[in-house]
Subunit: 334 residues, 2 copies
DNA sequence: TTGTACGCGTTATCAA
DNA sequence: TTGATAACGCGTACAA
């Protein structure tokens, strides 16, 4: 037994009456071992409860099977869903997720950490994404995959929702519904994604020569929506049309905060008085309590793209930049 | 440079003109290095972009700083929130989370995996919890922390919400509201937690000699609530009192599914026709669109308990079993 | 205070 | 097919 009390290959070898290498070979795919020896080794291993030590294995092969996932706000439904899909998919490919929460942390520490583990790749989720960390990792030639965080002239795989198009679709839909007094609402999180969505929305409006309010604030996404509704709809009575008649929220949670506050706190009817459209299509958007019209971005597509980028290990060619399509989901708030 | 292209301590030593152990000592807390040497080493390390290889370090010290988190359904708000808090707290303690998604996976593979990594502890979240995995880990003397999954006569730290008391509180509250035609609803997930909550609820009702319907089915938690409402409230028109007048759902999501379907699909008024109470107090419960009365269990408390159990490293004494208190949150559905 | 030498547990190489 | 032996990159007695 080793110092830490774990069973080692040597222990198994001794019990089985064979050499250490025989044990190693038994547990290494496609290696030469006679059935007889293999049987003896397996029996001994089972008896001792032996497991290959991955630390030693990875050190020796200098090839870890870990993938770091760096992100924040894992409680947000869209992120949580992505995490669920991603962790399941990775394990299916024999990879394991090292989950690093970048919220409110010392970035330098996190940076050192992620590089110390010699992971096969670092996956950076959108929110709270330390630019400095990304730079340093790339300098260390650490393989990286950026989700909704593309950076030009950077040697990293990148997966991006077509945020701009999504914003345009939202604008199009509100315009088609005859809305003209519009507002775009973003949370204080202020991620690149949210900025691009808003930009696409404004761009489409600009083409029609229609003006647009902008509202940015709030801590969480949901709370931002609540605050926006209180601020924008102030003074509007139940029967009085408010100063705006259509809102595009950069995330579904923000849209839901706006929607709920408008309906239950401000007494404003949706969509009669004001139309609301969100972005992401999280499960809660489809609930009958909200029935939110929104722009869908497919999480499974993102996961598939991650696996693709992960797969093209050494081939330098291949699609290093993947776009995730979006689509309009018509429900009852426009 | 090493085979994989990473910088090693030897590289740094050569550049700095010192021995390899000097490098090692520079990066080891409380070790003897003269300021002069330390400076030279740090300069060389910075120039080369050197990072300690954690695989080798952990192997050498036979002490990994990884903690495995085994769970499923990370998209559920309560689980997602726990994951967010937990990953942040662990990193604060110098520990790192290896996230293993146990859903729809080969359990044997996952079992081998978690043991191969020689993690400092395995944290098992409630849902989809493979009993076999737990047994095997314990047999391998792997340190474990079970959340909402206590097993008698088992050598593992365990953290449990006071589910039974929560169920009793729910019953008490419905009874106090004058409800007598009651039903308890659980999802098909059928976790130990949900069973205990239902049991506590029924226990309290039993003391009053009041009968109770039971409804168990559905795939997801939310969907289970929807199905329950459709099934239990069938035939009740808007103005007609249904056959039941009070429902306890074992999770908030189930409660919300029931609530929404009752209101928007069945035309049943809540709480006038039927009262609804949930469990967990997820953020969505507080939304004005739901305003769900529920039983709160505190995720931060759970995280604190995990850290406590993790801390009592070698001391065999100490609280190996921690109970998380619950409380009633009165809102508008009872 | 520094350098040498050994061990952590594994895989890979090379004779036998 | 098997068993010594050499890495893998690191921490750390031990000696200098």
């Amino acid at each position: 037994m080793s110092k830490a009390g774990f069973v080692t290959a040597a222990d198994v070898a001794k019990l089985a009456g064979v050499s250490r290498s025989a044990v190693s070979r038994t547990f290494t795919p496609d290696a030469y071992v006679s059935p007889a020896v293999r049987e003896k080794v397996l029996r001994a291993a089972d008896e001792l409860g032996y497991r290959v030590n991955r630390l030693a294995k990875d050190l020796q092969t200098s090839r870890s099977s870990m993938v770091a996932i760096v992100g924040a706000r894992f409680y947000e439904p869209y992120v949580a869903g992505l995490l669920d899909d991603l962790s399941a998919a990775l394990i299916g490919k024999g990879l394991h997720a090292l989950l690093l929460n970048a919220s409110s942390q010392d970035m330098t520490a996190l940076l050192n950490l992620v590089l110390e583990y010699r992971v096969r790749a670092v996956i950076v989720l959108s929110g709270a994404p330390p630019r400095e960390l990304i730079d340093q990792c790339l300098r260390a030639r650490q393989r990286m995959i950026l989700i909704n965080r593309h950076m030009e002239d950077v040697e990293a795989g990148s997966i991006e929702t077509d945020d701009r198009m999504g914003g345009r679709l939202a604008a199009e839909h509100l315009l088609a519904a005859g809305r003209r007094k519009l507002c775009v609402v973003r949370s204080g999180a202020d991620t690149p994604s949210q900025r691009r969505r808003a930009a696409g929305f404004l761009e489409r409006l600009d083409e029609e020569g229609i003006a647009c309010e902008r509202w940015v604030a709030g801590r969480g996404n949901y709370e931002a929506g609540c605050e926006a509704a209180r601020s924008l709809l102030r003074g509007s009575g139940p029967a009085i049309a408010p100063d705006i008649d259509g809102v595009f929220a950069a995330t579904d949670r923000t849209a839901l905060g706006f929607l709920n506050t408008a309906r239950f706190e401000m007494g404003v009817s949706v969509p009669q008085d004001v139309a609301v459209i969100g972005f992401d299509d999280i499960p809660e958007a489809a609930w009958s309590s909200h029935n939110l019209t929104t722009i869908r971005q497919s999480a499974p597509d993102v996961v598939a793209a991650v696996l693709t980028l992960l797969a093209e290990d050494d081939e330098d060619a291949g699609p290093r930049r993947v776009a995730i399509p979006v689509s309009l989901v018509e429900r009852g708030t426009v």
